[in-house]
């Protein structure tokens, strides 16, 4: 008999999602929609509100490596960090495929489900790699403070990189899109939700280094090879707002986001 189709409401966390998987298998119900508390729209399918249950989530998580293989597990776990629309549904299908066919299913690169999840994870990975380079820190009272505005949730991927690179530093990296921040100091770290983020004003030395960097950036380009298109291909403009070399207002700590309600100012003609 086919499983009943339902809409799962959960708290939006990864253990919550794993609990959904657990409940679906217990009650033999197939989720066709997932809702988090932020979603206000209602569904035509019968709703199931799933409580996050750490023990259930653990059980599902432990099954992943055996059923999906090491690669499949990584795709599944990272898939949850991506900005793929309806990522829960794609991951659910991915998981079902894995449970049915075993670890070799990740080789089927032409399958739409595997391909979609793979592409989403690829997007996440490449964005994380780009942010390893494009993130800019400011030194404010001995703490390195940076801000990013990624599409995917890249903080968990950036954490080992920056902690390894600056082992002795205290650093804060704020994710504007998902309102969370990485706080790190030697031997301790946390990724926490952040409501409001206002770093203090930069010191004299910080301003001096920004000035030096801007001047280096402008000098290093060869005028005879000016190629703005190539630059934008490698470094799309959405990264520019957070980068020191493109900021003019260098008394403020970090740039203000352009207000969404006010019209954008075009170049003065």
């Amino acid at each position: 008999m086919p499983w009943t189709q339902v809409c799962c409401c959960y708290d939006g966390s990864f253990p919550g999602f794993l609990s959904c998987v657990f409940e679906s298998y217990v009650h033999k119900e197939e989720p066709v929609e997932f809702r988090t508390p932020e979603d206000l729209s209602c569904s035509l399918y019968p709703q199931r509100t799933i409580q996050t249950h750490p023990a259930h989530a653990q059980r599902v998580y432990r099954s992943l490596e055996g059923k999906l293989g090491r690669e499949g597990r990584e795709l599944f776990v990272r898939g949850f960090l991506t900005c793929l629309p309806e990522k829960e549904l794609w991951l659910w299908r991915f998981l079902r495929m894995g449970y049915d066919r075993g670890p070799s299913f990740t080789r089927n690169l032409t399958d739409p489900t595997v391909d979609t999840v793979r592409r989403a994870v690829q997007h996440l990975n490449s964005e994380a790699h780009q942010y390893k380079g494009f993130t800019r820190f400011s030194e404010l009272h001995g703490i390195l403070v940076g801000e990013i505005e990624p599409k995917n949730r890249v903080l968990p991927l950036l954490r080992p990189h920056f902690r390894g690179r600056y082992p002795g530093e205290n650093l804060v990296l704020h994710d504007r899109t998902h309102h969370e921040a990485l706080f790190s100091r030697p031997r301790e770290w946390a990724i926490l939700p952040v409501e409001d983020f206002h770093p203090g004003p930069p010191g004299e030395e910080e301003l001096q280094y920004r000035k030096l960097w801007r001047s280096f950036y402008d000098t290093i380009a060869i005028e005879g090879r000016y190629n703005p298109k190539c630059r934008m291909t490698h470094m799309p403009k959405r990264y520019w707002a957070m980068m020191t070399e493109f900021q003019k207002d260098w008394d403020t700590a970090l740039p203000e986001l352009p207000d969404a309600s006010s019209p954008q100012k075009g170049p003065l003609v």
Binding site: S104, R107, N108, L109, T110, P112, D115, H129, K132, G133, F134, T135, R136, F137, S138, E139, L144, G146, H161, F162, G164, R165, Y166, P167, G168, E169, P186, E205, Y209, K211, L212, W213, S215, F216, Y217, D218, T219, I220, A221, I222, E223, G224, R225, Y226, N227, P228, K229, C230, R231, T233, H234, M235, M243, T244, E245
Partner: protein
């Protein structure tokens, strides 16, 4: 002189050096040090000319005793001169590195007094950086031709990658434009670095704590378009460098008019050969990742690369007997020869076809560029449905794909009011 002015002068003097990457070495950060490196390298920004900025690229000094015609820093050129002190440069590097502006330091230098003295200054800087500032990030250093081999060896122990620029593609051009540099004097340190790397690798197999000599390998660069060498000459030179000296990379730098010397192309109206440089890099990729040999890409009858089309397409058109390639049976090397299939998509094909036969629809999902590859492939013995192309038409189709890159002028929107005449 202020640090800002020095930085401007010495970054400006270094900007023509193309050989600047941060790849080839994985080293994780350790407590007590600052910095790590990544195998793939990391670009921290892109300058207005579209080139990657990964390292703080500066000269130690631009006071030079040589008078190479193609070089901005030649003795006879009248421009502001400056030199860092080792400590200034270390402070600057650490300040930039902590703010994640850069992946490390690229240190080159003009020859001040003599090659030995120059190298000593560079060694002092790098020693300070590594030992006192405990810097664990990437360092790319230029070996100075003519310096004492022992000094070059010490430089290699401090740096991750070394490079020696061979500057011009032939000994004749070198003696014409850079009379102070000799071919053997350039090749000698390259040979020394190659031997140093292999000895260090052997030693480290025996003992974990043996010193690492240039662990990220060596690279070089040459200027293209300043002298009359053919692409065939340049590519076979490149091939030789990869084979004999085990270089990681060869960089090509399109000549920018920096001099009015009668020996060089006149600066007025000179267009740097950027497209040619691009085609050379494409051919270089074929040598390094696609199992091509220089002789295959260009031969006696065809000394220069076709600017209208990439070298792999050109090869495919000259070897139509090799095609079509059957996706479901062909081996990795054969797949790599198909235009539109790269290293990554070839690997994916190998993985995916173990599950079931591939179709053209599936190839698209794998990332194969079908608009190029469709003419050269069959899936289970059948070509793409509805595709009828003659040999002649094939050339036209492929040329049309490259049109935007090879266009000499930007297309302009027609207007009623401009240029009435």
């Amino acid at each position: 002189m202020e640090l800002l002015d020095k930085l401007n002068i010495l970054a400006d003097a270094a900007k023509y050096d193309a050989a600047c990457t941060s790849s080839g070495l994985d080293r994780s950060g350790r407590p007590g040090t600052v910095g790590s490196t990544m195998m793939a390298g990391c670009c921290h920004s892109f300058s207005a000319d579209g080139r990657c900025i990964s390292l703080l690229k500066v000269l130690f000094t631009n006071y030079c005793v040589y008078d190479c015609q193609y070089c901005v820093n030649r003795r006879s050129n009248d421009l502001p001169r400056a030199a860092f002190t080792p400590r200034e440069l270390c402070e600057l590097t650490m300040g930039f590195y902590r703010r994640n502006y850069i992946e490390g330091l690229f240190l080159s230098s003009a020859v001040i007094q003599n090659p030995d003295y120059t190298t000593e200054q560079m060694i002092e800087t790098l020693r300070l950086l590594r030992e006192e500032y405990r810097f664990g990030g990437y360092i790319h250093a230029k070996a100075i031709p003519g310096a004492n081999p022992l000094l070059t060896y010490r430089l290699g122990l401090l740096a991750d990658r070394l490079s020696v620029n061979i500057e011009l593609p032939s000994a004749q051009s070198l003696s014409l434009l850079a009379p102070d540099k000799k071919k053997w004097a350039i090749l000698a340190p390259m040979g020394q670095i190659r031997d140093g790397i292999s000895v260090s690798k052997q030693e480290r197999r025996l003992c974990r704590h043996a010193p690492r000599f240039a662990p990220a390998g060596q690279s070089t660069q040459m200027i293209v378009g300043a002298t009359g060498e053919s692409d065939r000459h340049i590519l076979s030179l490149t091939q030789g460098l990869y084979d004999k000296y085990q270089l990681k990379r060869v960089f090509y730098s399109a000549y920018m008019p920096v001099s009015t010397s009668p020996l060089l192309p006149a600066p007025q109206g000179f267009q740097p050969p950027l497209l040619r440089e691009h085609r050379l890099y494409q051919a270089d990729w074929l040598l390094r990742f696609y199992h091509f040999r220089a002789e295959e890409i260009l031969d006696e009858g065809q000394p220069d690369l076709d600017l209208r089309m990439d070298p792999k397409c050109c090869w495919a058109l000259r070897h139509l007997e090799f095609f079509p390639v059957e996706v479901n049976r062909a081996d990795y090397e054969a797949l790599l020869r198909v235009p539109g299939i790269g290293v990554r998509s070839a690997r994916r094909i190998l993985t995916a076809r173990r599950v079931g036969p591939l179709t053209f629809e599936g190839l698209k999902r794998l990332g194969v560029v079908l608009k190029r590859a469709q003419y050269f492939l069959t899936c289970s013995g059948r070509p793409l449905r509805g595709l009828h192309v003659t040999e002649d038409g094939l050339l036209r189709h492929l040329l049309a794909l490259e049109a935007p890159a090879t266009l000499s002028q930007e297309p302009v929107q027609l207007s009623l009011f401009d240029s009435a005449g």
